[in-house]
Assembly symmetry: C2
Homo-oligomer: 403 residues x 2
C-alpha cells in the first residue's frame, strides 16, 4: 500500500435523511482537520449531483460551534439525491475529481452509496487515478450487511418506542383498535422497535407485522379479534411493506384495486392508504368500535431535537474512522462490531470491503421474530434496546385496585 497522498477530499451524503447522518459528516470533518494529507475538504451538494456538476462548499471554513449544531441537526446538511449514477455519470465525477485533485472520497449512505463508492474506486483504478473511497453506513431501516447495526437506526428506534409508549397510553385512555403503519419496505427492524418502550404486561403494541412474514387478511383479523377479546383494546404496528400470503404487498394490492376502479384522483398509493384500509377492514369485518389508524411518515427519520445518545456518538465515530482508515487503506466500508451487551454494551469499528455492503440488503433474522410471526423475541429486545440510548418511563394508574 502506497502512502496516503497529499490531496483534496470530498464528503457527500446520499439517500433518505436520518437523525444522525450529520453526526457522521461532522466526524469526517473533525478527523480530516487532523491529517495534513487532506488539504481541502469539499462538501458535495446533493450527493453525486454536486460531484458531477462541480458544486462544492468549503468544509474547513465551518466553525466548531456550527459543527456541533450540524451534528445535532436531522437530515443531510449537504443535501441528498436519489440519482443512481451510470458509467457516464461516474466518468463526469472522475473528471471533476481530477480537475480538483480530489483523491479522498467519503460517502455517507446506504447500500447504493457503498456501490457508488465501489464503482468510482474501480473506475479510477482503471485509469490509474488513485482515489481512496470510503463508505460510512447510514439507514433508518437497519438493512445493511456486515455491520452489527446502522447509524440512524438507533434514533429511529427511539422515535418508534416513544411514539408507541404514547400511543398505547392513548389507547388505554380511550380504548379501541389502533393501527400504526411504520417505515420499512423490506426490513421490519423499525416496526420491531415499536415494542421497546413496553413496561407493563398488557402494554401495546400487541401485534406486529413485518415484511419478513406474510400475513393474510383472515389471519390479521383473527389476531386482532383475539387481543380484543382478552384486553378490550388492541394496538397494532405494521411495516409499510407487509405482504399478503401470496407474497404480494398489501400496498400494491390497494393500488391495483384503485386502478381497476379507474379512480383518477384517489391515490391509494398515498401515504395514508394502507393504514386506512386495515382500519376499514377491522371496522367492517370485526364490527370493532373506535378504530383509528396513523401512518408515521417522515417524522420517523427527521424529527428535530430527538437523538439517541448512543446512535449519535457511534455515527460520529464512523465518520472519524472512515478518515483514519483512508490514511492506511485504499477503500472500504466502516462497520460496527458489538463487543458487549446490556449494561456492558460496547462496540468497536472495523473496515470491510465495499463489495460486502454494496447493493445487498439485510432482513430481520428469524431469531428476532416470534413463531406466530406477529411479534418479536427477547433476542430482538436485547439487540435493539442499547441502541436507543435509554427510554423514558411512564405510569398509568387506571389498572390499580379499585376502592
Amino acid at each position: 500500500m502506497a502512502d496516503a497522498p497529499k490531496a483534496n477530499a470530498v464528503v457527500a451524503q446520499s439517500g433518505g435523511p436520518t437523525a444522525v447522518i450529520n453526526a457522521s459528516l461532522v466526524g469526517v470533518i473533525e478527523e480530516a482537520n487532523k491529517h495534513s494529507q487532506i488539504q481541502n475538504l469539499y462538501g458535495s451538494l446533493h450527493a453525486v449531483v454536486g460531484m458531477a456538476n462541480d458544486e462544492f462548499i468549503d468544509l474547513k471554513k465551518v466553525s466548531a460551534d456550527t459543527l456541533e449544531i450540524v451534528a445535532a441537526s436531522p437530515c443531510s446538511a449537504l443535501g441528498s439525491s436519489r440519482d443512481k449514477p451510470d458509467e457516464d455519470y461516474c466518468s463526469r465525477i472522475l473528471e471533476v475529481f481530477k480537475k480538483r485533485n480530489i483523491r479522498y472520497f467519503f460517502y455517507i449512505g446506504g447500500n447504493d452509496s457503498a456501490n457508488t463508492a465501489h464503482i468510482l474506486n474501480s473506475m479510477a483504478d482503471e485509469i490509474n487515478f488513485d482515489i481512496r473511497a470510503f463508505h460510512i453506513p447510514k439507514t433508518v431501516d437497519n438493512d445493511l450487511l456486515v455491520t452489527d447495526h446502522c447509524p440512524g437506526f438507533g434514533t429511529a428506534a427511539k422515535f418508534e418506542a416513544c411514539a408507541l409508549m404514547g400511543d398505547d397510553l392513548d389507547n388505554r385512555t380511550l380504548p379501541g383498535v389502533k393501527i400504526d403503519v411504520i417505515m420499512g419496505r423490506h426490513a421490519g427492524f423499525l416496526t420491531a422497535a415499536t415494542v421497546l418502550g413496553k413496561q407493563r404486561d398488557d402494554d401495546g403494541p400487541h401485534l406486529l407485522y413485518f415484511p419478513e412474514r406474510a400475513v393474510s387478511m383472515d389471519k390479521f383479523l383473527s389476531d386482532v379479534e383475539g387481543v380484543l377479546k382478552k384486553l378490550g383494546r388492541c394496538v397494532i404496528t405494521a411495516s409499510e411493506g407487509i405482504c399478503d400470503s401470496d407474497g404480494v404487498t398489501w400496498a400494491k394490492k390497494l393500488v391495483e384495486e384503485a386502478e381497476t376502479d379507474a379512480h383518477g384522483n384517489i391515490q391509494l398509493s398515498g401515504t395514508g392508504a394502507l393504514a386506512d384500509y386495515l382500519a376499514a377492514q377491522v371496522k367492517s369485518k370485526l364490527g370493532a368500535k373506535r378504530v383509528r389508524a396513523d401512518t408515521f411518515g417522515y417524522l420517523q427519520r427527521s424529527f428535530a431535537g430527538l437523538q439517541s445518545e448512543v446512535d449519535v456518538r457511534e455515527a460520529r465515530w464512523c465518520g472519524r474512522h472512515a478518515v483514519q482508515f483512508a490514511m492506511e487503506e485504499d477503500n472500504g466500508s466502516v462497520a460496527i462490531k458489538r463487543l458487549g451487551n446490556g449494561a456492558d454494551y460496547k462496540v468497536e469499528l472495523f473496515r470491510t470491503e465495499l463489495k460486502n455492503v454494496a447493493e445487498k440488503t439485510k432482513s430481520m433474522p428469524d431469531e428476532f421474530i416470534n413463531a406466530e410471526g406477529n411479534g418479536v423475541t427477547d433476542a430482538f429486545i436485547e439487540y435493539a434496546m442499547p441502541l436507543t440510548g435509554g427510554l423514558p418511563k411512564t405510569e398509568f394508574l387506571g389498572n390499580r385496585p379499585k376502592i
Copy 2:
C-alpha cells in the same frame, strides 16, 4: 361563603389526551394532600364513567416517586371517556357522590368538561347537596375561552415545531412538495405552531392553511405554484378542518365523493385521506415532482418523552390552584393570565366562572393570521413561542457559497 367542608374529593380526566394532563392531575394530588379538609382523594376511572359506576382508585396511596413519573407521562393516567352525561347520568353521579361523601370535584378537560362540572354543580345545588366543582383546562387545540392559553397546547406546539424543523430539512435534502395535515378541526393554533422552528428566511413551512380561513383548490394550487417557482420546493401545513370557499370542509367533500362512487371498502374519511388528496391535486394539476404527504395523527398529542417545560409547569400549577380555589369558592375554572412576554414571560392564575368556559370554543384571532390567509403574523409567534419552553437549533450547510 361557607367554610370548606371536611369531606372526600374526586378528580377525573376527560376528552382526548395531552402530554401534560397528568401534570395537572399530580398538581391536584399534591395540593389535596396539604389540606386537611380533603379526606380521601378518589381518582375516577374513565372520567364520568367511573363517577357514575362508582369506580375509583385511591390517589393518596400513590408514592411521591410514582407521581413524578405520572407527571412526565403523556395521556390520562386515570383513563378518559367521550360520554356526554345527560340529566339521568348526572343524577347517578350525584348518588355516588352522596354515598361516598364526595364534596369536591376536580375535572381536567376541555369546554365539555367545564360544562359537566357546571351542570353537576347546579344539580347538586338544587338538591341542597353542596359540592365544590372546579374545572382545570386542557386541550392541544388551545380553543378554550378566558384563559390566555391551555395547558397541553405548549407541548403540542413544540411537537409541531420540531416536526416541521425536521420536515423542512428533509425537504431541503430531497426537494419537492411536502404537505402535512395537522390536528385542529375548528381552531388553527396547532397548524400555526408549525412555523415556530423557522430559523432561516427560506425555511418552511412556506404555506399554512387554517379552519379560520376558507381556501379554494385554485387558490391553494396557485399558492403552491408561486412558492415552487421561487424556491424550487414547498412545505405546506394544513389543519384537518380546512374549508373550501363555500365553507364546507375538504374532509367532508372527500367523504361525499367516495359515497357517490359507492366505494365500499375505501374510507376517504380515514386519517390519511385529506393529505393524500391534496398531494394528488398538486401532482396532477401542477405536474410537480416528488410530492409527499403526511398526516401527523395521534403522535401530536401523546408522543412520550416530549414535554414543554413551561407547559408541564403551568399544567401542574393549574391543578394545584384548583384545589386552593376550592378552599375558598364554590366552583370555577382555572385560567391563565399572561403578565409578561418574550424573555419576561410570566403568568398568574385566576378563577373564572364555569359558564364562561363551558361549551364555547375559541378560534385563532384575526391578528394571528396574515392578510393572504396562508401564514401567521409576528403577533402569533410572540404569543406562542414562550409556551414551547424553547426549541432546538438546526444547521443546514447547503446554502453556503460554492467554491
